[in-house]
């Protein structure tokens, strides 16, 4: 055999030996175990630790919030909801909104800390992801919460109709969702609303002396253009005085009055007037009948049943929203007109008032003026 052929064969043999021994030593034992892949990889992939633990794991420590959620609409949203033979799982759990894997949650031993420490610990622990996952806050600020709520509840054309959706501009404007809704149990249950610090009506009496010139000794005003305060929600009166004080609302009479009051005065005087019982001021009966038909729009907020039920019309179910029943017709119509011309502004009321004609305003005012206020 010629020399060069021998050399060539030798070279080929050496290469073959190197290649096959390399393949023998470098192929992991499990490679052809189940097929053309590494058999051990299956168990390795399965051994990863789950990060999201499910709502039940949150319950261990956050019992109160968990109970709130369990009782609320978010839990019930789709629970036991058998559609076309399939039982769908329950509604949004903890980790849907508090996007952050509970798997990284601090252990129970690490928990007995002061509340501030705990907050930072939680948020920091939750940043403890692999480097490519940015930090997430577990505890949501009101701004965060708004965007979290809108993830599911903003009205989008493609969203199916069973989903509760809002037009942000007309539903809440710039207000945060949490002003009215508890995100853990968002359906408004009036009895469970947090109680604001109550004022002292006795102390309020002294302050009220200045008010009585226009608003009457017992909250029944001296002129139909001034509002009655008797029986009005204290929380609403506090809100109103505060917005006069801060300049959000402006009125030649009220702004300087409110400017002279401190926080305690405001609470006290509000408590003082809210205790009086109001009496019906009356309104044109024919107009009131027409107004009743139009009042369905108002009832969502300005009736005791609120958004989901019927109740005494004109008596608002939420203490920060005003009662309308028994208010002076002229004051009511002036107020609606001031929303129309922009001299008073409110995210909800401005847009509602702009859709009312002058006749509507007259009729509605007459209707609410003639309603029983308690």
């Amino acid at each position: 055999m010629p020399k060069h052929i021998v050399r060539l064969l030798g070279l080929v043999t050496v290469i073959a030996i190197v290649v096959f021994s390399a393949k023998h030593f470098l192929t992991p034992d499990s490679f052809y175990q189940y097929g053309h892949f590494r058999g051990n990889a299956v168990a390795e992939i399965a051994s990863k630790v789950p990060k999201l633990d499910g709502s039940a794991s949150c319950e261990q420590c956050h019992k109160a919030v968990y109970a709130e959620w369990t009782a609320g609409i978010h839990r019930k949203a789709t629970r036991n909801n058998a559609i076309q033979g399939v039982v769908y799982k329950s509604g949004p759990g903890c980790e849907v909104c508090h996007t952050g894997p509970a798997g990284n949650h601090p252990s129970k031993e690490a928990m007995p800390l002061s509340i501030e420490d705990r907050v930072t610990t939680i948020t920091h622990k939750h940043m403890d992801h692999p480097a490519n996952v940015p930090s997430r806050k577990l505890l949501l600020s009101p701004e965060d919460m708004r965007s979290v709520c809108l993830n599911c509840h903003e009205k989008l054309e493609a969203r199916p109709i069973f989903q509760r959706q809002i037009e942000v501009a007309s539903h809440s404007g710039e207000e945060f969702c949490t002003k009215c809704h508890n995100p853990h149990s968002p359906r408004i249950i009036y009895a469970s609303l947090p109680q604001v610090r109550r004022g002292d009506p006795q102390a309020g009496k002294a302050v009220a002396a200045v008010c009585s010139g226009c608003h009457g000794e017992a909250g029944m005003s001296t002129s139909p253009t001034f509002p009655n305060l008797a029986g009005q929600h204290a929380d609403f009166l506090v809100d109103a005085l505060k917005s006069f004080k801060s300049g959000v609302r402006k009125n030649d009479m009220m702004s300087p009055m409110a400017a002279g009051l401190n926080e305690a005065d405001i609470r006290n005087v509000a408590a003082y007037f809210s205790r009086f019982s109001c009496s019906v001021t009356g309104g044109d009966k024919a107009k009131a009948l027409l107004g009743k038909a139009k009042a369905a729009n108002c009832a969502a907020c300005h009736s005791a049943g609120g958004l989901y039920g019927s109740g005494a019309p004109g008596v608002s179910g939420i203490p920060t929203w005003p009662n309308l029943a028994g208010q002076n017709a002229e004051y009511l119509s002036n107020t609606l007109k001031s929303f129309q011309d922009g001299s008073r502004n409110h995210p909800v009321m401005t847009s509602i008032a702009k859709n009312l004609s002058d006749a509507d305003i007259d009729n509605l005012s007459a209707y609410y003026a003639s309603m029983k206020c308690k």
Partner: protein, 296 residues
């Protein structure tokens, strides 16, 4: 022999160009038929048996008799499948965000294992406008690359119909990605999901191109392919995949087809289900209801 005879003989002997091409054509048809028949046999074999891609009988027996050592779990007992009820999807993208958290997927809008598409037909139009969270307007709307939300761009438009469709890896019975992988880094597990062995993936991205559903992407930070595996680490522990777990409307349904009362078995039995791109022959394991003609 006359000159004419000679010419005649030459014509007899030498193959004319026309005849040669004709024969070539016939030969090609026969060869093609043979190959076709052969591959049809091969295909029917793989479809008929439970064998995975390139798995011989011995390896199949091994998979049955000596399953991977996963605590309290035997892959012979399960056949996982997923359902997507598009009529219940609200496009909140919680599935996508939770998936990224659970599986450490890169957090920007362009890397994802599961995603949601919005189909919108404007009035008078017969074609859908499709967008996902990667749309620049949607990214701008959230103000952050790491938050995902659909914007409200159709608020004032005249919309004829619109809906969301959630998508993810279909964990096909005949996965194209597994077929093209040069290293055996991706494979079909016996209980359903197509998995990636990241220690063996060389990042060549053939699989990304091969997938007819666009379900694969490339994880730049890890240098390997990225895909949904139905949270294999969760389902082997008796948990749901995380997208199913967080879906607030129950638009995703998951379960074991071996259990006739599992949610997915009920879903498939009680509904008229469809799969995406059935013409590709991949035989997906994600079943949809409420798909529209333009959804692919």
């Amino acid at each position: 022999m006359t000159t004419q005879d000679k010419k005649f003989e030459e014509q007899e002997v030498a193959l004319s160009r026309r005849d040669f091409l004709g024969l070539l054509g016939k030969g090609a048809v026969c060869a093609g038929a043979l190959v076709g028949a052969g591959s049809a046999v091969a295909l029917s074999e793989t479809q008929g048996s439970k064998h995975a891609f390139q798995q011989n009988d011995e390896q199949y027996a091994e998979a049955v008799n000596d399953p991977p050592k996963i605590p309290d779990y035997n892959w012979n007992d399960h056949q996982w499948a997923m359902g997507v009820d598009t009529t219940r999807c609200i496009g909140c993208l919680r599935c996508m965000e939770a998936c990224k958290m659970e599986n450490s997927v890169q957090m920007d809008a362009n890397h994802y294992r599961t995603w949601v598409e919005r189909y919108v037909y404007l009035e008078g139009s017969n074609t859908a406008i499709v967008d996902t969270q990667t749309d620049p307007k949607n990214i701008e709307n959230t103000g952050s690359e790491t938050k995902f939300r659909f914007d409200n761009r159709y608020r004032n438009a005249k919309v004829d119909k619109a809906f969301f469709v959630a998508k993810l890896c279909n964990q096909c019975e005949h996965p194209s990605c597994v077929q093209v992988c040069p290293t055996g880094a991706t494979f079909k597990s016996k209980d359903g999901p197509v998995l990636i062995d990241t220690t063996y993936c060389i990042g060549c991205q053939y699989c990304v191109q091969a997938c007819p559903y666009g379900a694969r992407s490339f994880n730049q930070s890890r240098g390997t392919a990225e895909k949904c595996n139905w949270c294999y680490h969760r389902i082997t522990k008796g948990l749901n995949p995380v997208c199913v777990e967080v879906c607030p409307t129950g638009s995703r349904i998951f379960g074991d087809r071996n259990d006739p009362e599992s949610p997915i078995s009920l879903f498939i039995r009680n509904n008229h289900v469809q799969v995406l791109k059935p013409e590709m022959g991949n035989a997906p394991n994600v079943f949809y209801i409420g798909l529209d003609k333009e959804v692919v």
